[in-house]
């Protein structure tokens, strides 16, 4: 198996692999989201204290989890990129950042619309919301640093260092914000209001979380394909990809069964 992993550690072999995998993850995300929404809206009962407003958790909790989890995965790829100087792991970290930032933004947005009916305010300086906001700033910092550096190799390593420094800081930030929150308990409200969650509610939330997970993988794989093309443009293997208008000189390197142009294939698979 080990040889297989090294085989796919090169952009040349990973590009077609990502192209084959991404539609599957997008399809899994769509199916799980449909199932999760059916459980959440069709089967799960109305919450006794929060009424129908609680149904926001089916989207709020998954996005909040993914916002944190994607940062961890990004830190993992960054560590690999620094330790082994691998291009593909740096590209994966680069591909994950916008999706992670989107998840953090969605967690904040849905949190605000959940907070308004339950706490009476769109924004409370709750420990979790505040640390998610800071996490969003960390994502935006990585993206901004990437776009400010022209040399992709330097950008890879600079962003990897920044991501790792951020990863060390995320638990400290979370701890400090909770500390601050308990010190100023006066105006704040408790998010852990639900004492015990009905099993249908919990399963709906878990299914939606797996949907968000699959979606993040699909989006990252599609973004890494674009990044590979942007960075490898001009190389011989890219020129032999189907749709490039050249006869394949290197057999077995084009993505099998991939009709050109690939973007349209992405869209048809994702939208169903």
């Amino acid at each position: 198996m080990a040889t297989n992993w090294y085989h796919y550690a090169s952009p040349v072999t990973f590009y077609p692999l990502a192209g084959r995998l991404a539609p599957w993850f997008a399809a899994i995300a769509a199916l799980l989201a449909a199932a999760g929404l059916w459980i959440g809206f069709g089967l799960a009962p109305t919450d006794a204290t929060q009424g129908e407003a609680y149904r926001i958790i089916y989207i709020h909790v998954p996005t909040a989890w993914m916002a944190m989890f994607v940062y961890l995965v990004m830190a993992f790829w960054s560590a690999l990129a620094l330790a082994f100087n691998t291009r593909l792991s740096a590209m994966m970290a680069q591909a994950l950042a916008p999706t992670g930032a989107l998840m953090a933004a969605l967690a904040l947005w849905t949190g605000a619309f959940w907070g308004r009916p339950t706490w009476g305010t769109y924004w409370a300086w709750d420990a979790r919301m505040t640390s998610t906001l800071i996490l969003l700033f960390l994502y935006l910092g990585v993206i901004a640093l990437r776009s400010a550096i022209d040399d992709p190799r330097r950008a890879d390593r600079a962003c990897a260092v920044l991501t790792l420094v951020g990863a060390v800081n995320v638990p400290i930030i979370y701890f400090s914000v909770r500390w601050w929150n308990t010190l100023h308990q006066g105006a704040s409200v408790s998010l852990t209001a639900a004492p015990k969650m009905a099993s249908l509610m919990l399963s709906g939330m878990l299914v939606m979380s797996f949907a968000a997970w699959a979606w993040c993988i699909a989006a990252a794989l599609w973004r890494v394909r674009a990044i590979i093309l942007e960075r490898e443009r001009g190389s011989a293997w890219v020129a032999t990809l189907p749709g490039m208008g050249r006869s394949a000189g290197v057999p077995g390197q084009g993505p099998k069964g991939l009709r050109s142009p690939p973007p349209s294939r992405c869209a048809t698979r994702v939208s169903d």
Binding site: G141, R154, A158, V161, V165, I172, W179, W180
Partner: protein, 238 residues
Amino acid sequence: MTTPAPRSDDDGETGGALAGLAWALRRDLKLAFRTRSELAVQLLFYAIVVTLFPLATTPERTLLSTMGPGVLWVAALLASLLSLPRIFALDQADGTLEQMALSPWPLPAIVSGKILAHWLTTGLPVVVLAPLAALQYGLDGIAIGVLVAGLALGTPILSLLGAIGAALTLGVRGAGGLVALLVLPLYVPVLIFGAGAVDAVRAGIAVDANLSLLGAGLIVAALGSPFAAAAAVRIALD
């Protein structure tokens, strides 16, 4: 600029590290002394930011003493941010930084010396000036003492973390704004524990937890960030 002298005698790893630290510290302090008007400007920036808040809100004493610790800490963060380019940017511009990276001394040691010099020239003056600013905000004696203790523990962390951001943005487009985006989120725990200590003493709660956490943060940052900053310097020099 004096170039680092190669290690003359066969001293050990720590000896070389300490020599590199001391050399960088002396050199940066000497340079800072030559450009002391710049340092005065940064201190004035702190004083002016602190003066603006009462003008923007109210001169009423109870409100000012509530806001005071937070305002003084935010101003310290901004003053630290403003002075971050001093650590590496000039040395990169005239090529000295490349010389340092090639010197026989370990780069993290040289970077530590530069960070220490940065704190002595920009952080320490803020610590010294803070009691005066605190008087403007009507803080009493013991609160001022805790504020100064917190700043003394916290401003070195600002220099240590800031050095990473300064090194990452060396020679990068729009470095000034970018370094703020990179560094300010990392400053959040320092701000919380530092300002929280003064809040705690004003509320009559024990402050040692806040100050101990700042001290722990200082130790962790002092052990870790010179290596991260040195790695970032090498990336920037490639």
